[in-house]
Symmetry: C2
Subunit: 210 residues, 2 copies
């Protein structure tokens, strides 16, 4: 898919330029949106010319698909790690806000939200992106469901909702709150606080409803 017709060798240098282009693309796409971003702009940001670009990707769509896959996977992986350490550290399950904060993925939050929004938007129109999105989204749901299940177990609670359903609600709220915060122009710090608070409240609602 993202592989050119004539298979090119996978040298260290090559991987490096690809990575720089992908990082630059993430920034540019987040800033102006996928549609209004030109290949030119991405290359400029990365410090390359289009020669480098077309030597590494077939098109903007090709790059975006790869970026989307990479980015969403990273998010899932980051959350997976957090959940793992949370579970074995036996965190206080009543502190939903603390738990929610612990899910924050390191990195530029604003960029993350904007990029994810861009990916979601694209996934609504592009089969390929949708496929990648759904797969990773389900992984994410499973991770969070696991966390919720462990909390339920620790508190000896039974829910009317399945852990998966609860996880979906939490994740949906997560995204919704993030978007609203960005639209309202909240700085990163307040965004994080608001998100922890609101999503924590939802978590509470689910947990208390035994």
């Amino acid at each position: 898919m993202s592989q050119p017709d004539v298979a090119k060798p996978v040298t260290r240098s090559r991987e490096n330029t690809r990575a720089r282009l992908l990082d630059a693309a993430a920034q540019v796409f987040a800033e102006v949106g996928l549609g209004e971003a030109s290949v030119e702009a991405v290359c400029e940001r990365a410090g390359f010319t289009r020669g480098a670009f077309y030597s590494n990707f077939e098109s903007k769509d090709d790059l975006f698909l790869e970026l989307a896959g990479r980015f969403v996977s990273q998010q899932v992986e980051a959350v997976r790690e957090r959940v793992a350490t949370l579970i074995e550290s036996g965190a206080d399950a009543t502190d939903t806000v603390g738990l929610v904060e612990a899910l924050d993925v390191p990195g530029d939050v604003r960029l993350g939200v904007l990029l994810m929004s861009e990916i979601r938007n694209r996934a609504m129109r592009d089969e390929k992106v949708a496929e990648a999105f759904i797969a990773q989204d389900e992984s994410m749901v499973r991770e969070v469901a696991q966390l919720i299940e462990d909390i339920a177990h620790a508190k000896r609670l039974r829910f009317a909702l399945s852990p998966e359903e609860a996880a979906r609600i939490v994740l949906t709220a997560w995204e919704g709150v993030s978007s609203r915060a960005i639209i309202a122009g909240l700085p990163e710090k307040e965004l994080l606080e608001l998100r922890a608070r609101e999503v924590g409240r939802i978590g509470h609602l689910i947990v208390e409803q035994g």
Copy 2:
């Protein structure tokens, strides 16, 4: 903002072309996205040339701002009406699914979801759009909050959440479910069912948690 330098008369014919252009734009923007939609494509869809376009709008952004305002207002208005009739008809407050279904706005659902997603996406980067979006979003929250409050009153319940908070959760879930359905490629009928079911469940969660 959307008014040309030299104020143009507001004739019937003029309003008609503006409306046709706006409708066409809604379709095109929903189909391919704002960024990848050309002014040309919008005009073609509307059955005009760019001459008509530039005689009525300053730019694509100008048109989009107007479209966004109009569209979001319509949504709010439609919901407002439904809520009003629901309230005075004294609908069965325990039937959350029925209540949720009653909020469905008439028209092409898929188009509505895609367009709203486009508007939200744009609002994250554009002050003007954000402003319009926030204003209307708050109206919407108030409408739904009103509905929730009436249900609470009818059932003599008190919530841990304020009606506004509850409304936000419902609306966020609404959008989240819609997006996921579109990404999954569900046909309109199933989208509506899924949405009613899932959002209804959330409503239940809020209502039962007295």
